[in-house]
């Protein structure tokens, strides 16, 4: 199970654009917490602490114990909004959790033993179809990641969800088929333009020269035509 992390939060007054801008200017991140049939609460979190948590990885699959003005409640981040330019977090949604509840989460995938795959050694590319897989899991048993072994995979082989060892009570939300998570694809070959032979190159230059001369000759004619039009 993922360990609970502690976060301190404060209740924030007001909502809407101007109130949120003030919170951001004060170095905090506006957030909201909802779920379990209770009223949503507008809160704000310390920006530096949250950024550290985000950069440490697995932010959306970790349970947090939010200390809101002395009152603790379990919650999981459901969505993080980032500023499109600075890539700083600007808003977080938290979902309240009960200890025995079951939730649907996007768990990241990880691929190991790349060096033991003959297909990748020969220049194949690991084409990841799903960076995350949606799983239904109990709140007290959230996997940090789904690990897939690439050992022995050749070019053209696919890795399916059945290859993963999911824990007890954890199942993918797509249950009607054994879907593909990744595949080892053949490398894309870049076609470089072939260098022409010496004789051809000389001919090409000669013709290019002729073309440019033709254009030079044609240019004054065009100018004359335009002048005539203007006169008319």
């Amino acid at each position: 199970m993922s360990k609970e992390s502690n976060l301190n939060a404060e209740i924030r007054d007001g909502s809407g654009k101007s109130a949120v801008k003030k919170v951001l200017a004060a170095g905090k991140i506006p957030s909201v917490m909802y779920g379990l049939g209770e009223n949503p609460v507008n809160i704000s979190l310390d920006k530096i602490t949250v950024q550290k948590e985000i950069n440490s990885g697995g932010f959306l699959t970790r349970i947090f114990s939010l200390n809101i003005d002395g009152k603790k409640s379990l919650a999981i981040p459901r969505e993080v909004q980032f500023d499109p330019l600075s890539d700083q977090p600007i808003h977080i949604d938290f979902l309240r959790l009960a200890a025995d509840s079951k939730i649907t989460l996007d768990i990241p995938t990880r691929f190991i033993n790349e060096e033991l795959s003959p297909g990748l050694k020969r220049g194949g590319v690991l084409n990841v179809n799903r960076r995350t897989v949606q799983l239904s899991c109990p709140a007290n048993n959230i996997p940090e990641e789904i690990v897939f072994d690439l050992e022995g995979l050749e070019i053209g082989d696919t890795i399916r969800i059945s290859a993963a060892n999911l824990g007890d009570g954890i199942s993918p939300t797509i249950s009607d088929r054994d879907f593909t998570v990744a595949s080892v694809a053949a490398p894309t070959v870049v076609k470089e333009p072939e260098a022409p032979a010496e004789g051809e190159a000389a001919e090409g230059e000669a013709t290019e020269g002729a073309d440019t001369e033709d254009k030079k000759d044609a240019a004054p004619e065009a100018d004359n035509k335009e002048e005539n039009k203007d006169k008319e």
């Binding site: 985000i54 950069n55 990885g57 697995g58 932010f59 959306l60 993080v80 980032f82 499109p84 330019l85 890539d87 990241p108 220049g123 590319v125 690991l126 084409n127 990841v128 960076r131 490398p187 894309t188 070959v189 870049v190 100018d223 335009e226 203007d230």
Partner: protein, 137 residues
């Protein structure tokens, strides 16, 4: 070079690029991406030059995704022609890029190679860019 297969109208207004991008601001395909930091019209030639620079540096490894498409026809009058007499003929295709837009994505290569490839691609583009990577893993 990239260009639309067919268009409803041959010529388009010049337009102005205002605000920041709201779509395609996060990585969707690759691990690393190149993000625009300025607003500018990026031509099909520039996109192709950047793509070729990246793929040549990466050789056969990895994969490149181009997230922008030049769908705006840019017209130009011939040289030494007096003003007036209508709009010029379409000369090239361009894409209006807003700051925050992901231009290229790369996957299947190391961070060092991706950084160098994006550096080469960035030098072919008329805008300032920055390299981004998957934030939430």
């Amino acid at each position: 070079m990239l260009q639309p297969k067919k268009t409803k109208y041959r010529k388009a207004h010049k337009g102005r690029i205002k605000g920041v991008a709201t779509s395609a601001t996060t990585l969707n395909y690759g691990t690393y991406g190149l993000k625009a930091l300025e607003a500018e019209r990026v031509t099909a030639r520039q996109i192709e030059a950047a793509r070729v620079a990246m793929t040549r540096f990466m050789k056969r490894a990895g994969r490149v995704w181009v997230r922008i498409f030049p769908d705006v026809p840019v017209s130009k009058k011939p040289t030494e022609v007096r003003m007036g007499k209508g709009k010029g003929s379409p000369e090239y295709w361009a894409c209006r890029v807003k700051p925050g837009k992901i231009l290229f994505e790369v996957d299947g290569v190391s961070q060092a190679i991706a950084t160098e490839a994006f550096g080469r691609a960035s030098s072919k583009l008329p805008i300032k860019t920055k390299i981004v990577e998957q934030l939430i893993k």
